[in-house]
């Protein structure tokens, strides 16, 4: 088991290195492919007052004329030990996890990420917990009462959940709950540490609308999985032992049906971050998704690069956790 975890960790580190190289490569190549010279990039950084000295200074500071490998090395060095940006005589030190500065606002990218990440993760984690609980519960009950009114009702709801896009259900729910009935405040992010109650109150709508979409899928998956496992021979064996039906369902049936769900959950966490742009735009939350959108639309390469790296890291960590959970759940995986 421990050997398995170490092996997975090593793979994760390797993956991160590859992701950083590829994303950095893409953002290095993009301006060149768009026909932009390093002068154009430096000009964007300078803003209105473009002078030849300024351009040269910015190019030197950002190392825009350096080769790909030098710049990549500089980037990696910044993340691990920090780096210095020299602008004429002034030197800006960028401490350890340094991911450069925004071309637009000159803020350190890492600080921007730190600022925005809690918003995105609050939405993602809350919704994930909600949809897992709701989806799995509904799926199990549906499977056990196959063909009943509950099953048919739940599966119709699930079909609606899968079919309705998030920006539709999101806007409709804001309209209903915040405008018409005024049960909830119009969602805006409040820090968790400030007041957990208002934090949760503001997040309920994004959580529920996101969870509605995913819970629908999970209910269908769990139902299918439970229908399959409850027909397995080992379920018959569990009953033959005289195990009470509830234990047969939970300890033997659900235990098996859940393992594939764990895997899909890992993948969905990644998708969820990609979908954060839509969620955050729908509810006007300034999270990582919006930061990404800004970075790309304004050609703010360090910001876009930073967000990509951050989400990449998150997806890899999420999948690592899922793989380890999977190995804990299914002993046959460890040997493979």
């Amino acid at each position: 088991m421990i050997r398995y975890i170490i092996r997975r960790l090593l793979v994760a580190v390797l993956l991160l290195a590859i992701i950083s190289l590829v994303t950095f490569g893409i953002f290095f190549l993009l301006p060149k492919l768009a026909g932009q010279s390093t002068d154009d990039l430096a000009a964007r950084y300078l803003g209105r007052e473009v002078t030849p000295e300024g351009l040269a200074g910015v190019k030197a500071k950002l190392g825009l004329d350096d080769s790909f490998l030098v710049r990549y090395w500089h980037f990696i060095e910044g993340i691990f030990v920090g780096t210095d940006y020299k602008f004429g005589t002034s030197v800006t030190h960028c401490p350890a996890p340094c991911m450069g500065f925004s071309y637009r606002t000159n803020e350190p990218v890492f600080d921007l990420l730190l600022d925005r990440a809690p918003i995105t993760f609050s939405i993602a984690i809350g919704a994930a917990v909600l949809w897992l609980l709701a989806g799995v519960t509904i799926g199990v009950v549906s499977a056990l009462r196959r063909g009943s009114a509950f099953d048919r009702g739940a599966m119709s709801m699930a079909l609606a959940g899968v079919s309705l896009p998030m920006f539709f259900t999101g806007l409709v729910s804001i309209f209903l709950f915040c405008r018409q009935f005024k049960i909830l405040p119009t969602p805006r992010y409040e820090a968790f540490l400030g007041n957990p109650a208002t934090w949760a109150q503001n997040l309920i709508l994004p959580w529920v609308t996101l969870a509605f979409l995913y819970a629908a899928m999970y209910a269908r998956l769990t139902r299918a999985g439970m229908l399959e496992t409850m027909g397995e021979d080992y379920i018959r064996t569990a009953r033959a032992k005289g195990l009470p039906e509830r234990d047969v369902i939970v300890r033997h049936g659900l235990r098996s049906a859940l393992t594939p769900i764990i895997t899909i959950f890992g993948l969905d966490i990644g998708l969820l971050l990609g979908g954060a742009v839509i969620t955050e735009t729908t509810f006007s939350f300034a999270g990582l998704g919006q930061l990404m959108l800004q970075g790309i639309t304004r050609s703010d390469l360090p910001v876009a690069l930073g967000v990509t790296m951050a989400t990449g890291l998150f997806v890899i960590v999420a999948n690592l956790v899922v793989d380890i959970l999977y190995a804990v759940a299914d002993p046959r995986v460890r040997l493979a």
Partner: protein
């Protein structure tokens, strides 16, 4: 000795047959199944998987149930344990286990008996064990359902059981997962699990079908030894006549959900009277025969359990159907005593059956 015991049981059967009509029935045998019917309504019609089955079994004895696929063997065993699909099965008749009636009992009552008083060994030990739990955990679970003991004590019991079924180094193998066991080991572990609560009735549903021939014999020996040790009643369900001959005291031959012949091993193997039993014996390959000699398969296919042929279910495949004056295709034969303890359901007159066996069938086997 077995023959003597079987005769004594035979006398008893006559006795119950005579008084059986009485409404209030007190079972005399340890396990008594009377007129058991298990029907499943389906879109195509009523599937009569088991249709009026009766037999009895004492502690320490083994009943072999033989028949083709779809003859109702497995449904019978699942029905006794209450493991048939309760939601859509229609069950009638009586199952008496040690004085307790099971067909009319609640699900909870039957559950409490399952595993403790009656246990089952299944055909495929790999798919019958949960892949995510260690063998030890699964035996511990089975033991702790019915015994209020600590996990530690239950684990000790599990190791002891694994040792008893012949698994080497049981204290180490107890923490292995089923996929780390070989096929034979797995079936041993299944047996250890089934016997962990010392059940008085053990049902083995084709316990050797999924195993190598060499391992088959070991498993059968193990079941026989453990039966002697625990003095349990065993129902051995199989389509392998060799297995039945080896282990059973009595044999029940099933066809189309009903019993067509029921008697001691000697009766059924040496004096079989039902044409279907003759067919089964004739289709068994034998090593002491010339390989150029062809087996005698039973022609035709097993009947649909929805539309059983009118009259005798076996009549469309029976070579002697013509000798019954058409009764075979119109009237259903009852299971009648042909000799003490030997029952046959056939329209052929008893003398004629014995004559056919002695003159036409036996010499060819």
């Amino acid at each position: 000795m077995a023959g003597k015991a079987s005769k004594a049981r035979g006398a008893e059967t006559i006795d119950t047959a005579a008084t059986g009509a009485a409404a209030a029935h007190t079972p005399s045998a340890f396990l008594e199944v009377r007129d058991l019917k298990i029907h499943f309504p389906s879109d195509d019609g009523l599937v009569k998987s088991v249709d009026g089955l009766s037999f009895e079994l004492e502690r320490g004895r083994t009943l072999g149930i033989v028949g083709e696929s779809g003859s109702g063997k497995s449904v019978t065993s699942l029905g006794i344990l209450g493991l048939h699909n309760r939601r859509n099965a229609k069950v009638s008749g009586e199952i008496w286990l040690d004085g307790q009636e099971l067909v009319g009992a609640t699900e909870e009552q039957v559950r409490r008996l399952r595993g403790r008083d009656m246990a089952m060994i299944f055909q495929d030990p790999l798919s019958s064990m949960h892949p995510f739990y260690t063998v030890g955990q699964q035996i511990v679970e089975a033991y702790r359902i019915h015994h209020d003991v600590s996990k530690k004590a239950a684990r000790k019991h599990a190791i002891e059981m694994l040792g008893r079924v012949g698994i080497p180094k049981p204290d180490r193998r107890v923490d292995d997962y089923p996929h780390q066991f070989s096929g034979g080991m797995r079936q041993r572990a299944m047996i250890a699990m089934a016997l962990s609560c010392d059940p008085e009735l053990l049902i083995a549903d084709e316990p050797t079908t999924a195993l190598d021939v060499t391992v088959q014999a070991q498993i059968l020996d193990l079941i026989r030894d453990l039966q002697r040790e625990f003095n349990s009643a065993v129902i051995m369900i199989t389509h392998d006549l060799g297995v039945v001959a080896e282990l059973s005291d009595d044999i029940l031959v099933m066809y189309g959900g009903r019993s067509v012949e029921y008697g001691s091993v000697e009766d059924v193997f040496h004096r079989p009277e039902h044409p279907y039993t003759w067919g089964l014996l004739g289709s068994m390959p034998r090593l002491d025969r010339d390989r150029t000699e062809r087996l005698m398969p039973i022609k035709g296919t097993p009947p649909s359990l929805i539309n059983l042929p009118p009259g005798c279910a076996f009549s469309p495949r029976c070579a002697f159907e013509g000798l019954t004056d058409g009764k075979a295709t119109t009237e259903r034969p009852e299971l009648r005593e042909s000799a003490p303890g030997h029952k046959v359901a056939c329209h052929l007159p008893a003398e004629r059956r014995r004559q056919i066996w002695a003159e036409e069938i036996a010499p060819k086997l």
